[in-house]
């Protein structure tokens, strides 16, 4: 396994307090921009069911899942509201030259 930085999109393509879906190979990710202009990445699917978190609502550092209102902290991946119980996997995220990059294993 070889960790690599992958370009996602221009940073300003993600609104403040919002999330976008990013598919790479077989995997899907959710890339967040918080109200404090911080960027984070987690697995794209909720851990409760196969639902894209990118359709959910970002509130500060919290992402609320669009299906059953389960919540996660998008910085730590921690599940903070049921029915979400299992934490999300998180990925290192950086901004370089105005673009968002995430580090994933290839």
């Amino acid at each position: 396994m070889n960790p690599q930085w992958i370009e996602v999109c221009a940073a300003d393509e993600i609104d403040l307090e919002d999330v976008v879906r990013f598919d790479h190979g077989e995997k899907t990710f959710a890339v967040y921009r918080t109200d404090k202009d911080e960027f984070y990445t987690t697995d794209g699917f909720c851990t409760h069911a196969q639902v894209h978190l990118a359709d959910g609502l970002v509130m500060g550092e919290i992402i609320e899942c669009p299906k059953h209102n389960g919540r996660f902290n998008c910085a730590s991946g921690q599940a903070i509201r049921k029915p979400a119980i299992v934490p999300l996997k998180t990925y290192p995220t950086k901004i370089e030259n105005g673009n968002v990059y995430i580090e994933i294993e290839l």
Partner: protein, 363 residues
């Protein structure tokens, strides 16, 4: 063509659960109307204001009608006073329970949790088990063998539904579950959707509910009057009828086993008083499609998506003009259901073409 309606087992532990799985109906993708992301984000935005205002009105109305009921106890005036108090307590709590279970009514989490737990107590519902039950209802809405909240299985038990206006079926069942939970037992059905790590918490909270009811009974015995029970434990029997009237309209008589809430759910226009009591749950298609939108934004959401959904009903009367004959027909022809007309140009969502429970076993 097969004209026979195979008898369905609506339990979550029977063969229909496997059948739903085999047919790709479990945790499936559901149709959602297209709403621009920016607009949807506005609609999903949380606020404390509307729910605090509505809760203050609710509590003030409860306390005032409760006080009038207390003063009029022993006179004929107690009947209307308790009738109003009962609806505010036993019916209105259901919509509060529902919105707060989604965590969308208030912006502040503890407010949602507080109202949710109080409403659960009023409604004889285990707050932990029901949180999971309702999540399942949203995952697999009206999917036979999966959805634990189907109110009108086919053929419908119309007598039972009418008795339930006085919670005669739901009350003892709910209370029985609370008692069983407090002795550490969960039904197999509950175990199907409540994860194991939640079982002990569910039993603990049931003990607290039971203890409160026991204290109220003790108080009533001590003073030799049922008055305390009339305020706390009994309103569910004499005051929950309005919630049953509302709840039946949500899905009864419509398609089963489809992956499109436009076909298995009703949106009904209601007057402002009903909408206050029901917290806008009359916009039920909208709620199911976008459960992150709080109740106070549902009328706006309705405006955004009404061109993509079947015509809403003009009111409860129009809805019941459809529901009552449909349920009566289903007692004889369980394959019958009301097929909702999608707007012109709208296509059926994949997985809904078959409408598999709607076979021609009826004239």
């Amino acid at each position: 063509m097969n004209t026979q309606f195979a008898k369905r087992d609506y339990s979550l532990t029977g063969p229909e659960a496997q059948r739903a799985e085999d047919n790709g109906l479990v945790s499936a993708n559901w149709y959602a109307s297209t709403i621009p992301r920016k607009r949807l984000k506005q609609l999903m935005r949380r606020k404390d204001g509307p729910a605090i205002r509505d809760t203050v009105i609710w509590v003030v109305a409860l306390v005032s009608t409760g006080y009038l009921a207390f003063l009029s106890w022993g006179t004929w005036w107690a009947i209307p006073a308790f009738a109003v108090y009962g609806v505010l307590y036993g019916s209105t709590s259901d919509s509060r329970w529902h919105e707060c279970s989604h965590g969308t009514a208030f912006k502040t989490s503890w407010m949602n949790d507080l109202v949710y737990n109080i409403a659960s107590f009023i409604l004889f519902r285990n707050p932990i088990a029901w949180r999971w039950s309702h999540a399942r209802h949203h995952t697999d809405t009206i999917i036979i063998g999966r959805d634990p909240e189907i109110l009108a299985p086919r053929p419908p038990d119309i007598k039972g539904m009418m008795l339930n206006l006085f919670y005669i079926k739901g009350g003892p069942t709910g209370l029985g579950k609370i008692v069983a939970n407090s002795f550490g037992r969960l039904s197999d059905e509950d175990k199907d959707f409540v994860p194991e790590e939640e079982w002990s918490g569910a039993c603990m909270v049931a003990r607290v509910h039971l203890l409160i009811h026991a204290l109220v009974i003790f108080w009533a015995l001590k003073i030799g009057s049922i008055l305390p029970l009339m305020f706390v434990s009994f309103p569910i029997f004499y005051g929950a009828w309005l919630t049953v009237v509302f709840a039946i309209t949500q899905h009864a008589g419509l398609a089963e086993n489809v992956l499109d809430h436009r076909l298995n759910t009703r949106t009904i226009y209601m007057n402002p008083i009903f909408r206050f009591l029901y917290w806008n749950m009359n916009y039920h298609v909208e709620h199911h499609m976008f459960p992150l939108v709080p109740y106070h934004a549902l009328p706006e959401l309705h405006e955004e998506m009404k061109n993509d959904t079947p015509k809403p009903y003009k009111g409860l009367i129009q809805a019941y003009r459809e529901i009552i004959p449909a349920l009566i027909k289903q007692t004889k022809y369980p394959g019958y259901f009301v097929k909702r007309e999608l707007p012109e140009g709208a296509s059926l969502f994949p997985g809904s073409e078959g409408l598999e429970t709607g076979r021609a076993d009826y004239p």
